[in-house]
């Protein structure tokens, strides 16, 4: 059961389950059990972007002119997103790679996590620009009670899975005494932890980011913090893909063709799945309350944002075959959709706001007079 980085067992990868089969040996994509993961990889690669390509310099002036309560909204969201992407940039790798058995899924996980690291780096890009003391923003994340409360629920399922897999890969199934403490682990229990973990990641990608997205776009509707909004659009585009990835994983698990035990587990865990969604929605509504504690922003207030949380929670639940838990059926902020369309988010080099291109442009705008003092 120990993990090996190159499994010598000659196996038919098409017959492996997604997780807890043989560790992957050859990373080959000429044959695929689930072609969808290869397609997600290709799509994610086509989305590649660099934070430095987005010019956020105008945001600095916008930010300075924001009233205090709006500064609070903006910066708090940024901190929360930083937490979420810190977790997402590493956890899929640490939690899923030691137990994955399909090469296309393994590579999807790596590609997915890598794109999260771009998100993390983009927050530094944004914060450096609006604040002369970026360290204060980041330092506060580890002290901010509201954010830490959320961190607990975001990481708990990952940690439980990682902990169980460590024990299992070292000692196998059964009762073990580790440092004088008795611990029990079974493959069935690990699969349960895996299912709940993917469920909680699905909720993270599907719901937790969206309060923050809505605020970013509400600023941009007023032509404020537009550099930030541009970055958020790129992030949202990636997140939509990650969400599709976890939805596929959950639906494959629940269908049971891949691993019949997973279907049974999915059924058994249904109530817990509902609880994970419900708790996340409540936490995000709490977050909305915290954001607007000193005042709302134009176009958005706590009630509208809470309705939006309910609305997306319902639709995310339906996507994985659960019943909606809220009565809200209409999107209270339909204008957000236009910000989430991916057509026109391309970071094209000809766009004026791309700073790396502007560096080149300066060279083109030199005229003859600039060489007046030059003798060759």
């Amino acid at each position: 059961m120990a993990y090996t980085t190159f499994n010598r067992q000659i196996n038919d990868q098409l017959k492996e389950p997604m997780f807890f089969g043989n560790p992957v040996n050859i990373s080959r994509y000429d044959q695929q059990k689930y072609g969808i993961f290869e397609k997600l990889i290709e799509k994610q690669l086509s989305f590649f972007w660099r934070p430095e390509e987005v010019d956020v310099s105008k945001d600095r002036i916008d930010y300075q002119n924001l009233p205090e309560h709006e500064k609070h909204i903006f910066i708090s969201n940024l901190k929360y997103q930083t937490l979420l992407d810190s977790v997402q940039g590493r956890s899929p790798n640490v939690a899923f790679l030691p137990i994955v058995s399909l090469p296309e899924l393994e590579t999807w996980i790596e590609t997915w996590a890598f794109s999260e690291t771009i998100h993390s780096r983009s927050y530094t890009h944004i914060v450096r620009n609006i604040s002369a003391e970026p360290h204060k923003v980041f330092d506060d994340i580890m002290l901010n009670e509201k954010i830490l409360q959320r961190a607990e629920d975001v990481t708990r399922y990952y940690d439980a899975l990682i902990d169980g897999v460590n024990l299992y890969q070292r000692c196998g199934e059964g009762n073990h005494t580790i440092n004088g403490e008795s611990q029990n682990i079974s493959l069935y229990e690990l699969k349960r932890r895996l299912y709940l973990c993917v469920m909680s990641v699905n909720v993270l990608e599907a719901i937790r980011f969206y309060v923050s997205f809505a605020c970013s776009f509400a600023f941009a509707e007023r032509e404020l913090m537009e550099g930030n909004a541009k970055i958020i659009r790129l992030i949202a585009r990636d997140e939509a893909l990650h969400l599709t990835g976890t939805q596929h994983m959950l639906n494959i698990m629940a269908a049971g063709d891949d691993d019949p035990q997973m279907a049974q587990i999915a059924k058994e865990c249904e109530e817990e799945a509902y609880a994970i969604f419900r708790k996340a929605a409540e936490q995000e509504k709490d977050w909305a309350e915290f954001l607007f504690k000193d005042g709302s922003m134009i176009g958005l207030n706590k009630d509208i944002l809470c309705q939006y949380v309910e609305y997306i929670t319902n639709s995310r639940m339906q996507a994985i075959g659960l019943k909606p838990i809220f009565s809200t059926t209409q999107n209270p902020i339909p204008w957000i959709n236009t910000w989430l369309v991916s057509d026109n988010v391309q970071v094209a080099p000809q766009e004026a706001e791309i700073s790396s291109y502007l560096v080149g442009q300066i060279d083109n705008e030199v005229d003859g007079g600039d060489f007046g003092d030059f003798d060759l």
């Binding site: 585009r237 939509a240 599709t244 999107n331 339909p334 369309v341």
Partner: protein
């Protein structure tokens, strides 16, 4: 010219002026949720109660039985749909 019947609503004709079913529905002022408009996010999921649609590009989003994505499809036959 396939007919698109929207459950609880009147029917509209898919007359070729819209590239996708989503655009056709929007032209008739019907509110359908969307994000990507490219078949990978699943936000536009609707129920397909009757008939057949054809995808212009194979969608990446998970589509369960009885559902379809209007953002990247056109009707092949008369269809009946339900917008959530």
């Amino acid at each position: 010219m396939p007919n698109v019947k929207i459950s609880g609503n009147s029917a509209i004709a898919f007359d070729g002026t819209a590239p996708t079913l989503l655009t056709a529905l929007e032209q008739h002022k019907l509110q359908v949720n969307f994000h990507c408009r490219q078949g990978y996010c699943g936000a536009c999921r609707c129920k397909l109660l009757q008939g057949e649609v054809q995808y212009l590009n194979e969608p990446l989003a998970f589509v369960r039985k009885g559902e379809f994505l209007p953002c990247c499809s056109i009707p092949l036959t008369d269809i009946e749909i339900e917008i959530p």
